[in-house]
């Protein structure tokens, strides 16, 4: 049985990735950040033998190190790593720019990916050796179209750069990479067990986004699992199969 570690698994794309890997018979280590949210526990009741919940805050070195140790006690190796956790921060255009909000997305989205690779790589010396990352077209500088300075976009650009450097070193060592743009996904803003049933609508009742989380997860899983003949290239591919520039 193959296994996978997934960050940001509490809800939305991460939760759907967990569900779909379980449905395919994989052993899943789900990185749990929102400890008060019961959605992963509900899923665990369905898959008690193949789903393990791991406390995981990718913004902290020690937390990632501890998560790798915890996974290492249950598995002799990890086949696949999926860094899906994402943080958001401020942007210009909403009055005065608050630059103090710009640090968190960089720390979670870019440095979080580096922490995951660094601390989990000792467990990935054998097996599939596949490193997967949920990025975004929002981080693509050459097609940047937004007119506000966005800390989220900037963090995804930083992530793409960190992946370049990691790819340059690790691909010749036999590791394979997946860089995935999930499309414009409808995301539920649910954080606590006491929250109402998750809604995908904003305060005005509008449905924001184009794809459901389970749709983009369904597009991602085959990309992550299947081998390619061109593993020597780092390519950002979206949920519809289109390649993006950097």
């Amino acid at each position: 049985m193959k296994n996978v570690v997934i960050t940001g698994a509490d809800r939305n794309i991460g939760l759907e990735l967990v569900r779909q890997f379980l449905q395919r018979g994989w052993k899943v280590f789900a990185g749990r950040y929102l400890m008060d949210l019961p959605l992963l526990e509900e899923l665990q009741r369905e898959y008690p033998d193949t789903l393990t919940l791991v406390p995981l805050d990718v913004s902290k070195d020690e937390a990632v190190r501890a998560a790798a140790e915890a996974v290492g006690k249950e598995a002799d190796h990890v086949d696949m790593l999926i860094h899906n956790a994402a943080g958001f921060g401020g942007q210009s255009g909403d009055g005065e720019i608050d630059f103090t909000t710009f640090a968190a997305p960089y720390n979670i989205n870019a440095l979080g990916a580096m922490r995951m690779v660094h601390y989990f790589l000792p467990l990935m010396q054998t097996g599939m050796k596949r490193l997967c990352f949920v990025s975004s077209e929002a981080g693509v500088v050459s097609v940047a179209h937004r007119t506000e300075i966005s800390s989220y976009c900037m963090s995804k650009t930083a992530l793409n750069m960190a992946l370049r450097l990691m790819f340059n070193q690790l691909q010749p060592l036999g590791y394979t990479f997946r860089l995935y743009h999930p499309g414009w996904v409808r995301s539920a803003k649910i954080e606590h067990s006491t929250d109402a049933v998750p809604t995908f609508k904003d305060a005005d009742g509008n449905l924001i986004g184009k794809f459901w989380p389970w749709e983009t997860a369904a597009a991602a899983v085959p990309q992550f699992i299947e081998d390619r003949e061109w593993e020597d290239r780092l390519v950002l591919i979206d949920n519809e199969g289109a390649a993006w520039p950097f």
Partner: protein, 229 residues
């Protein structure tokens, strides 16, 4: 009346080179020095202000000090780089995440803080030009490295932010320059061609008439070679 340029990060070798080169071009020069650089020797007639790349408030205070002498400025040049020495660790070694956080605050958010603080003065000036000194380390497409993470990963997101600024401000008449200094040339020569590039009109040059550099944002090095994003 002289054009006015604000140079944030004027106290290092590249910055001092910029100060001298802009004076030769008959600009009125304001030198933005980092805390601790107050003793740097500047040419006569250069107004100096202190600003900290890590503090938005210090950039605003510097702008307020400049506003007492100049009602507007024509150009801002930001020259911040806290990664002058290559970091050779890779993802297989022990990454220095604290150094990476500091590099982002300094190299990426530092320029944005300065540009934001001086925007009101730029709005009142006629030149309306925003310039950054960066390096080819910032290019996602050209990255062939396996190390030097703090420099690469802190400078790439600045490229994104300046692209977004360009999208928002170009319609208001602003023009932009992103200049890759020659890090291999040594400190004294790394900024040799920067002032020339920053002051040149790129709107109708023979090599760029098909894709005017003023209506798209480009990253160019000291040899005027375009670096992909």
């Amino acid at each position: 009346m002289k054009k006015v340029v604000m140079i944030a990060g004027a106290g290092d070798a590249v910055g001092l080179r910029l100060v001298k080169d802009f004076l030769k071009k008959d600009y009125a020069v304001i030198a933005g020095l980092l805390t601790g650089q107050e003793g740097v020797s500047l040419p006569e007639g250069v107004l100096s202000v202190t600003l900290d790349p890590l503090s938005h408030q210090s950039a605003k205070d510097a702008a307020a000090a400049v506003a007492e002498k100049y009602p507007g400025i024509d150009m801002i040049v930001v020259n911040y780089d806290n990664c002058p020495v290559r970091e050779n660790w890779t993802i297989l070694d022990e990454p220095d995440f604290e150094a990476m956080k500091l590099a982002y605050e300094y190299n990426c958010l530092g320029p944005l803080r300065a540009i934001d603080a001086f925007r009101p003065l730029l709005d009142k000036g006629e030149g309306k030009r925003i310039c950054c000194v960066t390096s080819a380390d910032s290019s996602n497409n050209a990255a062939r490295d396996i190390a030097n993470y703090p420099s690469h990963v802190s400078k790439a997101p600045l490229n994104m932010a300046i692209n977004q600024l360009f999208n928002g401000m170009r319609p208001d008449g602003y023009t932009f320059r992103m200049y890759c200094k020659d890090v291999s040339a040594g400190p004294a020569k790394a900024g040799e061609y920067a002032a020339e590039y920053f002051t040149r009109n790129r709107s109708n040059e023979p090599e760029s008439y098909k894709h005017s550099d003023e209506n798209r944002l480009v990253l160019r090095d000291w040899m005027n070679i375009e670096i992909p994003w």
